[in-house]
Symmetry: C2
Subunit: 650 residues, 2 copies
């Protein structure tokens, strides 16, 4: 769109050849063109649709599901049917997408209804402009402890709406310093200005909350959720917030975690904390999103019994059913922390009477920092498709978090997002596939990883089929490749402490973080069976038994659940140690193939994009070699068992 | 002296019971009482001497060596004989020390002449107030990119003079930012003011230099030491510096090291760089102190041939004799970097035609951060007493760096100092033993570790003999204890990267720093023999052969020179692995004894001192346990060999 400070991601209408000044004929059936969201939809059609000879009818049809849409061609018209404005907007974006994906607009007959009611992004942006685990520059929401609002805010909202996001938490879950004051007069006007922009695109704004606000803002001595003064303070605060911020969505809370304050400080339960806040915001239609990332982060590495993986379930399962209706628990996909391979959190579906939201991370904290290519939809699909066996039928994670299992309305998916103020928003141009992909997947969990990848490639690059196939294939293979050259068979970690990029096999082995591989001269892995930490028993049957037995445990998770000798024979017939060697050599070699395939796209993608991504692949190869050689050397030195193929190990 | 912002260290005349307003009768024979240094000596006598009934005669005696002194009692007089003012000042401090050490002033007949002409401290203080590897607070020389001068500056100079220091480099060897401007108009006035204070105590001020100053200050495109414009720029700069800073000592230079610019950038030698600067400052009587800490800090850990330990010798030995007379090379005691145990740098005495200064570190970067007790004089004594075999007789390091071996005048010792603006100057009260000790040892390398420890304990605490013995014994044992619970048999490192406190056995194993232990399933150690990196051959015979053979290599350095199987029998009859287990259990147990012995001194030392040191010991015990358990677990897991005594290993 001619703005030179940031790209237009998958909505680059200039590239597509759109005339921004053309007129598109739009008519309205049942929708009010003055509605803010409908107005945005019309604006987008005007800018983004090529086929201006066509008439677009925004048609209100109460039979369409909430926020869903249908596209239907009729003569020279395209009907965008929806029962609400968000649905109409999503239908318009779907129409633009259909055109970009070269569908025949004359024969459209398709539609989607959102799988999840809540489809959210979580920004870990700090008010000083830094982003915790951000790999794409600084925040575009905050700088110098103030809020920044401008054209980029609008574009951000457009991008999010284009993939169906309807909720955004703008500040880091670790709420400190100035961010504590986001719910005060100091920032109300600017927060309101930002949420007006979001509202134009059907997005609600949420804030992360400092549980200790009654102390830090209110001057109280405690933030005990059962203390009357604390409750009274919150009541006043909620009234103030929802009055000053009409349309405000609610709060995301990280409590009792990694040094953050919470109800445990006062001997209260997580439910005590969440329900108190839930009750406070209920009169205003607000919700409380309560994170379940609670664990002991000062563990003694000598302790083989305490298991961080157990913590979420142990802390929250007993309180199932105790949470109020406007409270939703936000649960990370795995029991640890966004590793390249983890089992599914047993809390998902482990709770059967509590609103649940799935939290994933597209900021590639442990998956390559947006340097290494790692398209995450295959991982997220595995999570969504996992049968929890929490009930007969409708027992997948997708069923649980969408509300289908329990029939609850407060349900959905959230992603810790990978954006920043880099020119291309995501550091690596190709990392935008995850930004796009998460939104699409949250909107429609039935889409395949490939369908999403192909949409994104088409909208972003408009390549010939052969090249498109290459790029889609690169994306689809990337997660497995990253997994191969990093930590083996689900054991995770082995990363450089704090930074979380690059290998350090023992980096977290003797630490306080509860993140161990327990490798010795004979074997590796954590015994999480009924003879070990008992974590496997947190699953329903038959999952519990499956994980409990190395013979039935999925091999990609073998070391997560079992301590296994290096000489153990895997189903391939390879020994464990040989698998470690082979997979690391293969992973590095395949990363080289990725880089070469990218090289073959020179001239097919914009040169600037080509160059910058090529540089990322150079860095990825350096990283992959370090991982390959350090992991292989570590296990060779420790086991004394040589590589059967006699390759170089140091 | 009543100032509440910092202690008086070993010159606490208040505690001693001195009346600061008393008059001491001082007479002068040959000395000018108006001389700035003599005036300081008189001031110190007035404040610090108890026995005011005595007459002190400052007696100029040309037969006393430069900066030396003799104390001689005659009737009710004490004669302080010296041939120069510094000697007289040191004599006065010796008299105060004698009194504090309860010597009979009526029968004094003693003296010292300095072993080393240069006795320097190096401050790694940055102008923002931080101190690189500082564990005692912030800088008292700099804050907010400016110079701070006050009463603390005076006290600092007094303390240094009291132990014989005659040169101080006030800024970090890594010269960046504002520090580059110390040789410009911005700071001349304040530097001059500081060096006037120093001069009152016989101390010359030196500055660390940015080798790239011609670029950063002069606007030139290069800092090539053979470039005419660069030379011309330096000539002008030297003229300006020595004109504006009369009495200025010269420059300390870290070049071509850890990212700092240097002559290598331009294909020049270290001598080209040092000599160019030497020539520039020669007309003003200035000197250039050139650090030899030059090595490849981007090594590939896969490379078993490149050896960081070799670097100093490899870079500097060939240029022996090429350095100009007013250039002196500053050489760290070991070839690596201030580890708890290293062999002596083969460059010391390896050079036989070049001025050399020994650099040690009393900032406890790798020796416990002034949390863990580690009295370093025993280590320094080993260094000084080491026979280099560079010639017949006068071949110890003490001989070499004092100038005795070669008859050179520019020679001496320097310490990276352990002070900061903490109330007690050194973080741990007991760490001041190293501050005191280094000065005393540099002044008189014949003193034993115990003599120095006892002097410091007497002057600092004035304990009864039994308690004094306890504390002296704690100091004397502390280095061996620290060594026992940290890295074994000279291998070094195994510390948490960057921080350098606490264990991380593999922390530097796969890094770029050239710091490896090469442990595998069967053994550990770096082969630095003629079959390995050849480092051992950098020594003169018989040292080279001694180190080359594990049978004759001192066992405390065994793993530095050899890769040794865990089952290797040491001279004690123990296997290597059992030695590792035993020494780590012993080291931790002995650290507990240290803490207990300290507990027994409660009531004998000031309560505040007792409490704070007790807290340090608590931290030391936590550290010692982590070291013990992590090192033992690491080697047990790697070797699979059990502890013969069946103690708990994780």
């Amino acid at each position: 769109m001619g703005n030179s400070n940031w790209t237009q991601l998958w909505l680059d209408y200039d590239k597509k050849g759109c005339d921004a000044n053309k007129e598109v004929k739009v008519t309205f059936e049942g929708f009010d063109k003055a509605d803010r969201v409908i107005a945005s939809a019309v604006k987008e059609l005007t800018k983004g649709l090529l086929g201006k000879e066509r008439e677009i009818v925004l048609f209100k049809d109460e039979s369409v599901a909430a926020e869903g849409y249908k596209l239907f061609s009729q003569d020279r018209k395209v009907l965008v049917k929806a029962s609400d404005a968000n649905g109409a907007l999503y239908g318009v974006f779907a129409l633009i997408r259909a055109e970009a994906c070269s569908k025949d607009l004359a024969s459209l007959d398709e539609g989607e209804m959102p799988s999840n009611p809540l489809r959210m992004t979580n920004h870990w942006d700090n008010m000083d402009g830094s982003i915790e685990r951000g790999y794409s520059g600084q925040s575009f929401f905050f700088e110098n402890n103030d809020i920044v609002i401008g054209e980029r805010t609008v574009d951000y909202a457009r991008f999010m709406a284009s993939v169906g996001i309807n909720g955004v938490v703008i500040n880091n879950v670790n709420v400190k310093g100035a961010a504590t004051y986001l719910i005060t007069d100091r920032f109300f006007d600017k927060v309101q200005k930002m949420q007006e922009i979001f509202a134009d695109y059907g997005i609600k704004l949420y804030l992360s909350l400092n549980f200790a606000a009654p102390i830090e803002l209110g001057g109280l001595e405690v933030c005990d959720p059962l203390d009357e003064d604390v409750i009274a303070w919150w009541k006043e605060k909620a009234k103030e917030v929802f009055t000053r911020l009409p349309g405000f969505g609610g709060f995301l809370v990280k409590a009792d975690s990694e040094g953050r304050p919470g109800p445990f400080t006062y001997g209260r339960t997580q439910a005590d904390g969440a329900n108190m806040l839930g009750d406070i915001v209920a009169p205003y239609g607000g919700i409380i999103i309560w994170r379940c990332f609670v664990y002991n982060c000062t563990q003694d590495w000598r302790d083989y019994k305490t298991d961080r993986a157990r913590a979420g379930y142990d802390y929250f399962k007993d309180l199932d059913g105790a949470y109020h209706d406007n409270v939703i628990l936000q649960i990370k996909n795995g029991p640890m922390d966004f590793q390249i391979r983890e089992p599914i959190s047993p809390l998902l579906g482990g709770l059967t009477k509590t609103n649940q939201m799935l939290e994933v991370q597209i900021a590639q904290e442990y998956t390559g920092h947006q340097i290494d290519l790692c398209y995450l939809m295959p991982m997220f699909k595995e999570v969504l498709d996992f049968h929890t066996h929490c009930c007969e039928g409708k027992d997948t994670v997708a069923d649980v978090v969408s509300g289908r299992t329990m029939g609850n309305k407060l349900a959905g998916m959230a992603a810790v997002i990978n954006t920043g103020n880099d020119y291309n928003w995501t550091g690596n141009y190709l990392a935008a596939a995850n930004t796009y992909g998460f939104g699409r997947l949250a909107f429609n969990t039935e889409l395949t990883s490939e369908e999403i990848a192909r949409e994104w490639v088409r909208m972003s690059f408009g390549l010939e089929k052969a090249e498109e196939d290459k790029l889609v294939d690169m994306l689809l293979r990337s997660r497995e490749i990253y997994e191969k050259y990093t930590s083996p068979l689900g054991i995770g970690w082995m990363v450089t402490p704090n930074v979380h990029y690059g290998p350090s096999v023992d980096g977290y082995e003797y630490s306080r973080w509860g993140t161990y591989h327990r490798a010795d001269h004979l074997g590796i892995g954590v015994d999480r069976t009924d003879k070990g930490t008992g974590y496997a028993q947190q699953y329903y049957e038959p999952n519990a038994s499956m994980y409990n037995d190395p013979a039935t445990c999925p091999e990609e998770l073998l070391l997560f659940f079992h301590h296994i000798p290096y000489t153990y024979k895997l189903k391939t017939g390879k020994t464990l140690i040989q698998h470690i060697y082979d997979s690391h050599f293969e992973g590095e070699a395949e990363a080289e193939e990725l880089a070469k395939t990218w090289d073959s796209l020179e001239g097919k993608v914009p040169q600037e994009v080509f160059n910058l991504v090529k540089h990322r692949f150079e860095m990825q190869l350096y990283n992959a070699k370090e991982w390959r050689d350090q992991v292989n050397s570590y296990f060779f030195r420790k086991s004394g068992i040589a590589d059967e193929k006699g390759r170089e190990i140091y």
